[in-house]
């Protein structure tokens, strides 16, 4: 642990840190901490009761009994996988307690969500659980095993940051108990704010976690935004995190190279897919890799990187009386092979991916072959016919890379690049079409309503594909139009377009308000009735409020002009009404 063993002891010896060990969990304390994490939970396996919550730190984070139970069941492997030693995985779940509101104020969440790459946006009421699970032989315990998990609950999908935190904190906890968690909370509470785009250095137990949160603008290649001066940092205590969220794609997808394009289409169109893997680590990483392949597009439906039979949604997801929900499930319990038979797409990961012969390119298997036997061969089980052709050149290069033992990072970045370019080529025509839905500047009139984005016309859009489709920027061949038709029905599309629309309409409101500020009021007021004069004052006020409410700043110059205009209107009112209005709320 690079000398972190004594970190807690050192911290304890520091009088500055001592004064805040106890009773440190007041609300001010939670403020900064809650930007980064909600809490640590320790889940133990009680021989009488099964999984149980041993402690929560900070305690008053606001978990209900139901929340605790949810976390407990997701904190341990769902089947006896015989994992020995330490392992890490993550889950994603809905929590219902005050934890939903105790954490960062809504405005700071909103501003983060506006600035980060869309893929990294948070969702209301949804939390990630990052798990550090230890299972070792211990003669002192009945049944001879020590089984315990430290779980970090957070809103943000910074998988690699939280992994590193747990790598430092969990072993300290196992050695020193609760005070390790208290110290960690105290240190995290002193971290810089969650800020998009700038290199961050986050001190913890004598180390510095160095990372950058990718912004909306550099939402380029995932993991491409390294802190540039990293190699120059002299200290050995720095832990560089090159990508805050990415896993090595090749690790998960190595046995599925022939299906890379199928995965992308399935994710793009929010198909229901289940991943059955031997361990929670394998399934959570696989599901997360799937979700990231449409980067920087936000994956708009639910996904559960690790899901167990104890989950409250288990019945809904496995019932054969209705179509499976549009979600991605990661599971390990062999029981799921049976219960998920009606799911349209199933990925089965073999027990040991290293031994799989990757040269063989496996065909997509018919789901019918998913028989009742729990021994399922590795593969993709689906009747899906992909719209696009596979990228044979890429597959060849990856296979060569495996033979020549090309570094995992290099292999992964080949896959990342492939997916990024696919997504980009796919989105460019959509972006271009949306820009044609913009109203013209000359249609913006100060005394009319602010113009809004026109509606998305599917047919009109599909017509543009024929002339300027993805084939302009992508070498991939296939039925792009068919894929668009499928995508336009998906949740990903609806979410994407809704965001675009809101963003553009907000800008239009601002442009309109500026036009209003520049308008010639004198001319407009001539011959207007009292009712209309009041109406214009109200309109102006509403427009200013609407622009402010969406977080846009109205230039002070424009505000000054608007105030002068309102003054002119008020002057025009009959004198008794003038006083009434001046005493009221018609001030900007």
């Amino acid at each position: 642990m690079n000398g972190s063993e004594h970190a807690v002891a050192e911290l304890a010896a520091d009088p500055k840190s001592l004064d805040c060990v106890d009773g440190s969990t007041n609300s001010a304390f939670l403020q900064r901490l809650s930007e980064w994490i909600q809490c640590f939970c320790v889940v133990t396996f009680d021989l009488e009761m099964g999984q149980s919550m041993e402690m929560v730190c900070p305690e008053q984070v606001g978990l209900t009994e139901q929340d605790k139970s949810t976390i407990c069941y997701l904190a341990f492997p769902d089947s006896n996988a015989g994992i020995l030693g330490d392992s890490q995985f993550h889950f994603r779940c809905h929590l219902e307690g005050d934890i939903r509101t105790n954490s960062r104020s809504q405005s700071s969440i909103d501003s983060y969500n506006c600035q980060c790459a869309p893929s990294l946006q948070t969702d209301q009421g949804i939390f990630f659980g990052y798990v550090y699970f230890r299972q070792i032989k211990d003669r002192n315990v009945r049944r001879g095993y020590f089984q315990k998990s430290v779980v970090l609950i957070a809103r943000l999908p910074f998988l690699n940051v939280y992994r590193e935190i747990l790598r430092l904190v969990a072993p300290e906890f196992f050695d020193n108990g609760r005070k390790a968690l208290d110290f960690a909370c105290k240190e995290i509470d002193r971290w810089a704010a969650v800020r998009v785009g700038n290199p961050l250095s986050l001190p913890l137990f004598g180390h510095n976690l160095c990372c950058t949160i990718p912004s909306l603008l550099d939402g380029a290649l995932p993991g491409a935004s390294y802190p540039s001066n990293l190699s120059a940092l002299p200290s050995s205590t720095n832990i560089p995190i090159t990508s805050i969220h990415d896993f090595d794609f090749i690790k998960s997808f190595q046995g599925f190279l022939a299906h890379l394009h199928v995965f992308w289409e399935l994710m793009l169109c929010n198909e229901s897919l289940a991943v059955i893997a031997p361990t929670p680590t394998a399934c959570s990483e696989f599901v997360q890799c799937l979700v990231w392949i449409v980067w920087p597009l936000k994956f708009a439906t639910d996904y559960r990187p690790f899901f167990t039979i104890h989950d409250g949604d288990f019945k809904d997801y496995t019932t054969k009386s209705q179509a499976p929900p549009r979600i991605i499930l990661g599971v390990t319990n062999p029981f799921f092979v049976k219960t998920l038979q009606h799911w349209p797409h199933i990925v089965k990961i073999g027990d040991n991916t290293d031994t799989v012969d990757v040269k063989e390119s496996p065909k997509v298997k018919q789901p019918g072959k998913l028989n009742s036997s729990v021994d399922l061969k590795q593969g993709l089980y689906s009747e899906y016919k992909s719209f696009l052709e596979k990228d044979k050149v890429l597959i060849k290069r990856l296979l060569k890379g495996i033979q020549s033992k090309r570094p995992v990072e290099a292999q992964s970045s080949l896959i990342k690049k492939y997916y990024y370019e696919l997504t980009r080529s796919f989105m460019i025509p959509l972006e271009r079409y949306v820009s044609t839905l913009m109203p013209l500047l000359r249609d913006i009139s100060p005394f009319k309503s602010p113009p809004t984005l026109r509606d998305f016309d599917f047919d009109e859009f599909l017509d543009t594909i024929a002339v300027a489709g993805p084939s302009l920027t992508s070498g991939t061949k296939g039925d792009w139009a068919g894929l668009y038709m499928s995508f336009l029905k998906s949740e990903n599309f609806h979410h994407w377009f809704a965001m675009k629309k809101r963003e553009i309409n907000n800008k239009l409101k601002l442009v309109h308000l500026q036009a209003l500020a520049e308008a010639d009021m004198e001319m407009w007021m001539a011959g207007k009735s009292e009712l209309e004069l009041i109406d214009l004052i109200l309109k102006t006020r509403n427009c200013v409020q609407a622009v402010r409410m969406v977080g846009e700043t109205v230039p002070t110059e424009a505000i000054a002009k608007l105030k002068r205009s309102i003054g002119k209107i008020v002057d025009k009112l009959p004198s008794d009404l003038k006083d009434l209005v001046r005493n009221g709320s018609l001030i900007l």
Partner: protein, 223 residues
């Protein structure tokens, strides 16, 4: 006063008419809360006393016409009665509110009604509202009694709850329907006068603008 929107004739306004409403009644009967519930679909639990005049707007639809309601809300305190003349002038609708749990607010209705009749035009639609209907256990004025008062004076009547939102929409919308009906009948003459003289609609009719969708809530920019 009901006026078609002004501006250049081809202006794509998102409403065809503006109706002026006023809300009158004693202090604390829930006038501002009714306005807020109607424009924001929310209940204000502690609402400060209105000083001077507050305005709310919302676009509604009646018989396919988009109508922008410009609602004037004033202080119920006696000392503000001085400003009432300009407040009442040209109102197309008047919502007269009392509190069903406070008899005194009901007893003052006749004086509010006298003001309304004297200071508005004969076609102003007056709608009687018994507010705080959610507090039925503390009721101090029966429905029947108030209904009788409304009938005797030719008023429309509903009991509402600004807290739960019950019947609030109905009161505002019924009033608008009645006003629109008067316009259709020709009783409310939009061409009557140019001058903005009291009790008279003030504007020449202009071609109606083409309507856009009315906004669902008062939140967004309704220009």
């Amino acid at each position: 006063m009901a006026a078609p929107p002004a501006g250049s004739t081809n202006a794509p306004y998102n409403y065809n008419y503006i109706f002026k409403y006023i809300i009158i009644g004693d202090m604390g009967v829930g006038k501002s809360c009714l306005l807020h519930q109607f424009t924001e679909k929310k209940f204000m639990s502690d609402c400060p006393h209105t000083i001077g005049v507050e305005f709310g707007t919302r676009i509604i639809e009646v018989s396919g016409q988009k109508i922008k309601l410009q609602i004037w809300d004033t202080a119920g305190q006696e000392r503000f009665r001085a400003v009432t003349r300009s407040y009442y002038r040209g109102a197309a609708g008047a919502l007269m509110v009392y509190d069903i749990t406070r008899r005194s607010t009901y007893n003052h209705l006749s004086s509010w009604l006298t003001d309304a009749k004297n200071l508005t035009n004969p076609n102003t639609v007056i709608f009687l509202i018994g507010n705080k209907a959610d507090l039925d256990s503390q009721r101090d004025v029966t429905y029947e009694e108030a209904k009788q008062f409304a009938d005797d004076n030719g008023l429309m009547f509903l009991e509402t709850s600004a807290k739960t939102g019950d019947k609030v929409e109905d009161a505002f919308l019924e009033t608008a329907r009645r006003i629109y009906q008067l316009i259709q009948d020709g009783s409310l003459d939009l061409n009557a006068a140019e001058s903005g003289v009291q009790h008279k609609p003030s504007h020449v009719t202009r071609p109606l603008g083409t309507g856009e969708q009315p906004e669902a809530t008062g939140k967004s920019c309704q220009c």
